[in-house]
């Protein structure tokens, strides 16, 4: 028996995909979850078509010092690093995790710069790849102000190897 005969029905809750009526049927709920989970590898595949992180080599292509950051500190970092012996990796897209990051960061002296008190990107990196960033190598600012290029320049100099 067809439940409903109209097609313009939308439901934001767990429902039968055919007629958009709410369901408590375990089979349908399970199938819906599995259908949604199938999208994640497809999103990961699609995400390779655009740039998920960017490397600014700062004329030091083979440097073992690498600055890791995401979001708004980018501008200040780009202003701070000319002349320093380091590269800069800016992450733009984190979920699904860009697996190539592991290759870029392994065995390097990673300096994490983040406008947060916990250094979340470091936690994600540890979770996804196992790479641990030393607490001494984190430059975190959490006083509600943005990073300034000249201050960053001094901080980074101290952490270079």
């Amino acid at each position: 028996v067809k439940n409903t005969t109209v097609l313009g029905r939308y439901n934001s809750y767990e429902s039968n995909n055919v007629d958009s009526c709410l369901t408590e049927d375990v089979g349908v709920i399970k199938a819906n979850f599995e259908r949604r989970m199938k999208k994640i590898p497809m999103i990961a595949k699609d995400s390779k078509s655009f740039s998920r992180y960017e490397i600014y080599d700062n004329k030091n292509k083979s440097s073992k010092n690498i600055i890791l950051s995401w979001g708004s500190p980018k501008g200040a970092i780009l202003d701070a690093i000319p002349g320093l012996k380091c590269k800069f990796l800016h992450v733009k897209y984190i979920e699904p995790f860009p697996e190539e990051l592991e290759k870029e960061l392994k065995g390097k002296n990673i300096i994490l710069i983040e406008n947060s008190s916990t250094g979340m990107l470091g936690d994600v990196l540890r979770e996804k790849t196992g790479i641990l960033i030393d607490n001494k190598n984190k430059i975190l600012r959490y006083d509600g102000r943005p990073f300034l290029a000249d201050e960053l320049n001094k901080e980074i100099k101290r952490k270079l190897k």
């Binding site: 439940n3 409903t4 005969t5 109209v6 313009g8 029905r9 439901n11 934001s12 009526c21 709410l22």
Partner: protein
């Protein structure tokens, strides 16, 4: 030719729930209006979250069952997309006065041609009986063991103050719902209809029906704003005793203001 508005989904409302009366009233009215499949496409329903929202599954019509408290923005979106659509919104008292209060006030201000039902059972029934902004003082449940300390909102007075152009209250009786819906569809503009729908399980003391009386039978002038305010203050949702009088019917109606759709067109 008749169009079947029923679905084969099995209703999960409690036996004897007053929501069945509202469903029957809406269905009776629409069955008279919808003669062909083309007619069916000119109607859309929107529901929120709560016991009331199950009505979405039992009506074979186009529509959206959206987020908690967001019935009116969704309905407004439908109306902007297709101004000729007859949009009926269904909302509960928790959905409408707790989660979606700001939308309600602005919808009255915009005056879009939407017919809006509030199934008011004065309790969050789907999540087993927490108090809503409409629950009377002293109501106790597991989440408020000391009783509700705040007076309920007088929604009729609120909607009159917010500038709604059609304000009505009915009891959950299929005949009353059907009549008020046909009045609402004759109205040009936002129609706010509160349905007193006592919850049999989580708010069972409310014997509202025996205190009700009909405004239109008592000769209430529905075009008089001051009279409407006076009538709205007769019942405050808080005290129920022998002196309680609950006015039902259309409190206020005016078509002086332009509707949301007319303003959209005139802007072009």
């Amino acid at each position: 030719m008749t169009v079947n508005l029923s679905t084969s989904t099995k209703p999960t409302w409690c036996p004897g729930c007053f929501n069945f009366q509202i469903l029957a009233g809406v269905k009776n009215y629409l069955t008279k209006k919808i003669k062909t499949e083309e007619d069916r496409k000119s109607y859309a329903i929107v529901a929120g979250i709560g016991c009331h929202a199950k009505i979405f599954d039992y009506l074979n019509l186009n529509g959206i069952n959206g987020l908690h408290g967001r019935v009116l923005p969704t309905a407004l979106g439908l109306k902007i997309g297709n101004p000729n659509l007859n949009v009926i919104g269904f909302s509960g008292d928790g959905d409408c006065y707790a989660e979606g209060m700001e939308h309600l006030i602005h919808a009255a201000r915009y005056n879009a041609n939407i017919k809006y039902f509030v199934h008011n059972n004065q309790v969050f029934a789907l999540t087993v009986g927490q108090p809503t902004p409409m629950t009377e003082m002293g109501f106790k449940d597991k989440t408020t063991p000391a009783g509700v300390k705040y007076p309920p909102i007088n929604s009729i007075r609120l909607m009159l103050a917010a500038g709604a152009t059609f304000v009505a209250r009915v009891f959950a009786d299929f005949k009353q719902v059907e009549d008020v819906l046909s009045e609402a569809f004759n109205h040009k503009g936002f129609a706010f209809i509160e349905v007193i729908q006592p919850c049999l399980i989580f708010h069972p003391d409310a014997e509202y029906k025996k205190y009700t009386y009909n405004l239109q039978e008592k000769g209430h002038d529905k075009n008089n704003y001051q009279e409407a305010i006076k009538k709205a203050e007769e019942f405050d949702y808080n005290t129920i005793n022998d002196k309680t009088k609950i006015p039902l019917g259309i409190f206020y109606q005016t078509e002086e203001r332009a509707t949301f759709e007319e303003n959209l067109v005139s802007k072009k």
